[in-house]
């Protein structure tokens, strides 16, 4: 274990592996398997892909019959086995946001060091892999910049390994890469991270299940109701059609909103490949003040 990796991160609350609570597939015949199951992740990609295809076709038909586009992932998406027992079965209850919900926690530049947005300088040497710059803007549904708010990211290293004791993927840890970054958005809602392109990794939802390369993003917005956690993907990934987490967003236009764009203007000569990804949070329900619109809501500026 390299000494400059903080051991505390290996002692975080443990989690179960993704397959541990996977529910048995309801209502399907036990099809003869043509492979020897290696572990609990025994269902084939072909089985999973058929399920995803069937859901996709039903959605396409509903769209054609006039149903509205589904812009968020389905909470109930059985091909992601862990979702089976973890989705509410009742409709979300409509509520009008009240006072506290119309504000977001405040984060200031004092909370986050400027260097935390560069994931390649957190240790003593250069991480292995393809250096990338990921930049974009965070906007609300009315197109206003979400300024002065915390953006957190986390990701696997270039070999597809997370710094997490429950990640048992036999790919190397990188002593120079932890895969955690933070920044505060600028007055125009902009953010920028320098990092390493993450690798794909296996996750045992089914046999031979691999996640497309992705970076996790956590975003707050100006109101608590805008809070989201999501994932950014890379263009052209061959694993998209096979991945139940990506496919849980059944609408292709909606899926496309999670895929970054290669940006040659962000790409820096002899240094890093650039990707652009803009993030849109929900609309604002509160009347903004001039002060907030220019991103000076935090009290760091005083």
């Amino acid at each position: 274990m390299p000494e400059d990796i903080n051991l505390e991160i290996f002692n975080a609350d443990p989690i179960t592996e993704d397959v541990s609570d996977a529910a048995p597939q309801a209502g399907t015949e036990a099809a003869p398997k043509t492979y020897a199951p290696l572990d609990a992740a025994a269902e084939s990609q072909a089985d999973l892909s058929a399920e995803m295809k069937s859901i996709g076709e039903a959605y396409a038909k509903a769209l054609k019959d006039g149903a509205p586009a589904e812009i968020q992932p389905r909470l109930d998406y059985a091909p992601y086995r862990s979702s089976v027992l973890r989705h509410p079965t009742k409709d979300l209850h409509h509520a009008d946001p009240e006072t506290i919900e119309l504000y977001s926690p405040a984060f200031g530049h004092m909370d986050v060091h400027a260097l935390e947005s560069d994931l390649t300088i957190q240790h003593n040497g250069e991480p292995l892999g393809e250096r990338i710059i990921v930049s974009g803007r965070v906007l609300d549904g009315d197109g206003r910049p979400v300024a002065g708010q915390l953006v957190e990211i986390w990701q696997a290293n270039s070999a597809g390994r997370y710094i997490h004791k429950r990640d048992q993927h036999p790919a190397p840890l990188d002593p120079n890469f932890t895969g955690v970054g933070r920044c505060i958005t600028g007055a125009d809602g902009s953010y920028s991270f320098t990092t390493i392109k993450p690798g794909a990794y296996p996750w045992k939802n089914h046999l031979n299940a691999w996640r497309p390369a992705h970076i996790h993003f956590s975003l707050f917005g100006q109101e608590f109701t805008q809070r989201i956690v999501t994932q950014m993907y890379f263009p052209g990934d061959q694993l998209f059609p096979l991945d139940p987490i990506y496919q849980s967003i059944v609408d292709q236009d909606a899926r496309d909103r999670l895929v970054a764009t290669y940006d040659h203007d962000l790409t820096r000569p002899e240094w890093a490949i650039g990707y652009n990804w803009d993030i849109v949070l929900t609309g604002s329900k509160r009347t903004w003040t001039e002060n907030e619109a220019f991103g000076t809501a935090g009290d760091d500026s005083e």
Partner: protein, 202 residues
């Protein structure tokens, strides 16, 4: 940017299994130091549809101070032990239990029922869920609350914490099944998010 143009929100995705080295931070669940005057413990367990505790969920709370003020103050990530910012984050442990040290929220308006706003994230949960936890006291305010009064009694009870002997609050979250917690949609235009989630069809 044309401010009248509505942009379509970016979809959410599961927080995944491996947030555990990224999102938690020192004193993340201590909105103020344990043992501080006025501090209480808010605790509970997160359950799945089989009634099993979920060991890999993470909760966030956001609340007014004990006088009902929305403090809107920085300092949640680097706690000094004195500044109350109203925000906290707690990953559940192996047994599915979360804990916050906080204060009883005050009413943000005279006569309003005080509550803490909650966001729930978990592996296997495709998108975060919002909910609220209300204080059990002041029946009159609870009865007048617009959200609580729109729910039938059984569902309503899922949003009200129990007062512990030590003055703390216990409130469990059930993602599915008997006693399923009421989760909220704030969009209020077009199709409810629940319908888009496929929930209506189940």
């Amino acid at each position: 940017m044309n401010n009248t143009t509505k942009l379509t929100p970016t979809p959410g995705q599961t927080v995944g299994p491996f947030y555990g080295y990224a999102l938690p931070y020192e004193k993340d669940r201590e909105l103020l130091a344990p043992g501080s005057p006025g501090s209480i413990r808010l605790q509970g367990t997160v359950y799945d549809g089989a009634g099993h505790p979920i060991p890999d969920a993470i909760l966030e709370i956001w609340q007014p101070d004990s006088d009902g003020n929305v403090v809107h103050r920085t300092g949640s990530l680097v706690r000094d032990g004195y500044t109350f910012t109203g925000f906290g984050r707690s990953a559940v442990g192996n047994t599915g239990v979360y804990t916050f040290t906080t204060v009883n929220p005050g009413p943000t308006e005279p006569g309003a029922a005080p509550f803490i706003s909650v966001a729930v994230f978990a592996r296997g949960l495709m998108n975060r869920l919002f909910t609220r936890v209300y204080l059990p006291e002041n029946e009159e305010a609870l009865a007048a609350d617009p959200l609580l009064s729109s729910l039938d009694p059984e569902r309503r009870s899922t949003l009200i914490a129990r007062r512990d002997a030590d003055g703390g609050l216990t409130w469990d979250i059930r993602l599915q099944g008997e006693g399923e917690t009421v989760f909220l949609d704030f969009e209020g235009s077009g199709r409810p998010e629940g319908a888009a989630s496929g929930g209506a069809a189940q």
